[in-house]
């Protein structure tokens, strides 16, 4: 039978799959065997460059499928072609809809700045919170997740962005206040009150995961590098998100890490 290949042998997977690049945070979801049903995804939000899905998974509660023009969230799968509305499953290394399959061609690690020195007072003092962001809540001591979460409009309310910025900076510099902030944030999230997408962002920020622009800014600031370009990039994130994230970072780096206010200490226990 020279030269012929029976149809039954054809796998043809490579030609039919839509390529995508997956965050390593999604590995366990992608690896789940489809025989067991895989994981069914429930669409909760859609923009021109991204679709967000609830996974029911405690580690990655929301999965984002986005194009390369979207801000790269740590829980993203990047592809040139977004899934149409409708059923979508994940498992066996693929994302599957009734009409298309996405296969991972590259794995990437989400940004997680860590082990950085706290920047000197002068470096931080030089930066100012952008005045042109009226939606960014004025941050007052103490850092109160209860007061911040869900505050402001948008898929990620500005208050949540501020909190995420503060958490990422705390994780990056190994701030002693982080455990307490974590507790209060988790407790506040348990009481609901924000969008699923923002909840997912805070969920990953608790572990120090950040969008690349935030990670680059925190890294440049802590290492004493020029922050002009990184600041501009960060401020360009979202409508007001960048400014809010920056506000949160400055809060962490400007306030005294040795002093936890009574309020901050007790809130988590409430």
């Amino acid at each position: 039978m020279p030269g012929t290949v029976p149809e039954s042998y054809r796998q043809g997977v490579a030609t039919h799959e839509i390529p995508c690049a997956a965050s390593t945070l999604l590995a366990h979801l992608l690896d789940s065997p489809v025989e067991g049903g895989g994981v069914e995804l429930l669409e909760v939000a859609r923009t021109s460059v991204s679709v967000h899905y609830l996974t029911g998974d405690p580690v990655v509660p929301v999965l984002c499928v986005c194009t390369s023009r979207a801000v790269l969230l740590p829980n993203s799968l990047v592809t040139g072609s977004l899934p149409a509305p409708g059923p979508l499953r994940i498992g066996d290394g693929r994302l599957t809809s009734p009409t298309a399959t996405w296969g991972v061609r590259r794995w990437w690690q989400p940004s997680q700045p860590s082990g950085l020195p706290r920047p000197t007072g002068a470096d931080v003092a030089r930066l100012s919170v952008p005045a042109a962001s009226p939606d960014v809540p004025r941050l007052a001591l103490p850092l109160s997740p209860d007061a911040l979460i869900g505050l402001g409009p948008g898929l990620t309310p500005a208050g949540d962005d501020v909190l995420a910025g503060a958490l990422v900076a705390a994780y990056a510099t190994d701030d002693p206040r982080l455990p307490a902030w974590r507790r209060t944030t988790v407790a506040a999230l348990a009481r609901g009150r924000t969008t699923d997408i923002s909840r997912a962002m805070l969920h990953h920020a608790l572990d120090g995961y950040a969008v690349p622009q935030l990670a680059a800014f925190v890294t440049a600031l802590c290492l004493g590098h020029d922050t002009a370009a990184a600041t501009a990039d960060l401020l360009a994130v979202g409508h007001t998100s960048g400014g809010a994230l920056l506000t949160g970072v400055l809060h962490t780096l400007r306030t005294d890490p040795g002093r936890l206010t009574a309020c901050e200490r007790t809130e988590g226990a409430a």
Binding site: R10, Q11, P19, G93, R105, R106
Partner: protein, 491 residues
């Protein structure tokens, strides 16, 4: 012959358009000469020199239309055409300004790249030039091209030295930089192992073996097969060591190479020691641990336990009577490794890349006893695609081996990944079936990951369903082939 000169008022047109119109009118049939121009002094002189009589008073803001033609009909046609040409408007489509033209050099292309790498696969005699451009742009540079003269490789690496970038290659088939696969690369996950490889398929196999035990890769840096020879002196290997030493993600470094020049090996070891990270030398040669053993060593260094990647049983469990081993490979290092393992049990293995010079095959590559062929060898890939992309030459040879009664066992590799053929199992399966029917066991080592576009599990199951023994370790596949041959001699 007839002439006409008229002066038009209030008809300013720019001089370029007028020259075009003049040219257009001059080229009409029956027109001897034409001048359509503003009535400047210069143009009036020109008209005079063409034999026209000028009106008495003209101003430079008026337009001269002077035509000399063979007859009245041609003259009228020409004058009519002047009006048409002068009123012609630019068509709307011509307003499209078009994008920037594609860059013609790496230098021009690299202006758009802030942080990046370059992948050069231009013909070998030119690759040096393109690689220098990439190095100048501060890019780590992979030179996929083969046939780059040794002196140019040396010069290229020397050129890159002070610029702090890595030259991967020449003749580098595989690299993974920051998770991005270049050339023939498998889809692997990020992890703690940094690989420096003088062999493409060797690196691919090590990555896939580690992927099998959930150990990820930080970077896989090809350095080219000659890097550790004394002429090159390990220039890229040293640079790669430095890069991996300062890479936070890399916890252990593996160097994969044929046995290097001793002096070079010494300096590599010394250099590695200075990095403070554990380095494992995975040397490909007689008496050295095979790639699977190296993978096990890496896993253990990371404190993980190693287990064999396992296999799938084939249909035919002993060699065809009286036959010898026939290995048909796409990956040179995989062929080499199989020869090293099998020759310790079987003795002479004839090959186009023989372990001993005296074991070389005839020009025809006709099998002679135990025989292994590397179809990816430069001499067999000139003017045709690499067997990892197009398996047709190997398939042809496989058919011949099935019909050859001296073929007892077939040993193959199937290399998956980016850049490789989309579905190699589908092409091989009918041949595996035919071999099994003829009583020839087929042993296949599948080098790939489940994340590869072809999917390792799917490829393996198709080959296995057709009757093949499927291994995920090339060394284990080679050892199994020896066992199958031994069973035949028992029968």
């Amino acid at each position: 012959m007839t002439r006409n000169l008229t002066v038009r008022r209030g008809a300013y047109v720019d001089s370029v358009t007028l020259m075009q119109v003049s040219q257009q009118i001059s080229s009409l049939p029956g027109v001897r000469s034409a001048l359509v121009a503003m009535a400047t002094e210069l143009n009036l002189d020109l008209a005079t020199s063409m034999g026209f009589t000028l009106p008495e008073h003209t101003s430079p803001n008026e337009m001269l239309v002077a035509v000399e033609a063979d007859d009245d009909a041609s003259l009228d046609a020409a004058l009519a055409q002047v009006d048409v040409a002068l009123t012609a408007k630019a068509s709307p489509s011509s307003l499209s300004l078009g994008g920037a033209p594609a860059p013609l050099t790496v230098r021009a292309a690299a202006r758009a790249a802030e942080s990046g790498v370059a992948l050069i696969s231009t013909p070998g005699q030119y690759a040096f030039l393109d690689a220098v451009d990439a190095i100048d742009a501060g890019l780590h540079t992979m030179v996929f091209s083969d046939n780059v003269p040794l002196a140019q490789e040396v010069a290229l690496k020397r050129y890159a030295e002070p610029r702090g970038v890595l030259v991967m290659g020449p003749d580098c088939g595989t690299a993974v930089v920051g998770g991005v696969g270049l050339g023939f690369a498998n889809v692997v996950r990020p992890g703690p192992v940094g690989i420096i490889a003088a062999s493409g398929t060797g690196a691919q196999h090590l990555m896939t073996l580690l992927d099998g035990v959930h150990v990820g890769i930080s970077h896989c840096l090809g350095v080219g097969g000659r890097d550790l020879a004394s002429a090159v002196g390990g220039a890229s290997t040293m640079r790669a060591l430095d890069l991996l030493a300062s890479d936070d993600q890399t916890k252990v470094i593996v160097v994969i190479s044929k046995p290097p020049d001793e002096d070079v090996a010494d300096s590599v070891r010394k250099h590695a020691a200075s990095t403070g990270k554990p380095m494992i030398f995975g040397l490909l040669g007689v008496g050295q641990p095979d790639l699977t053993a190296t993978a096990a060593h890496v896993a253990e260094t990371l404190g993980l336990s190693w287990s064999s990647p396992g296999h799938l049983d084939g249909q035919v469990d002993c060699a065809r009577s009286g036959g010898s081993l026939r290995g048909l490979f796409a990956g040179g290092t995989l062929c080499d490794e199989a020869m090293i393992i099998t020759s310790s049990a079987l003795g002479t293995i004839r090959s186009n890349i023989p372990l001993e010079p005296s074991w070389g095959l005839e020009e025809s590559l006709a099998s002679d006893g135990h025989t292994m062929i590397d179809f990816g060898d430069d001499r067999l890939t000139q003017g045709r695609p690499h067997p990892m992309i197009d398996g047709s030459i190997r398939a042809e040879r496989m058919r011949a081996e099935i019909e050859d009664p001296t073929c007892g066992v077939l040993l193959l590799d199937v290399v998956l990944g980016l850049g490789a053929a989309p579905d190699p199992a589908a092409e091989l399966a009918p041949l595996v079936e035919a071999a099994s029917a003829a009583g020839v066991p087929v042993v296949v080592s599948v080098v790939g990951t489940n994340d590869d576009p072809q999917g390792r599990a799917g490829q393996a199951s198709v080959l296995n369903a057709a009757g093949a023994w499927v291994f995920f370790s090339n060394a284990e596949a080679a050892r199994h082939a020896i066992e199958l041959l031994a069973k035949e001699s028992d029968a």
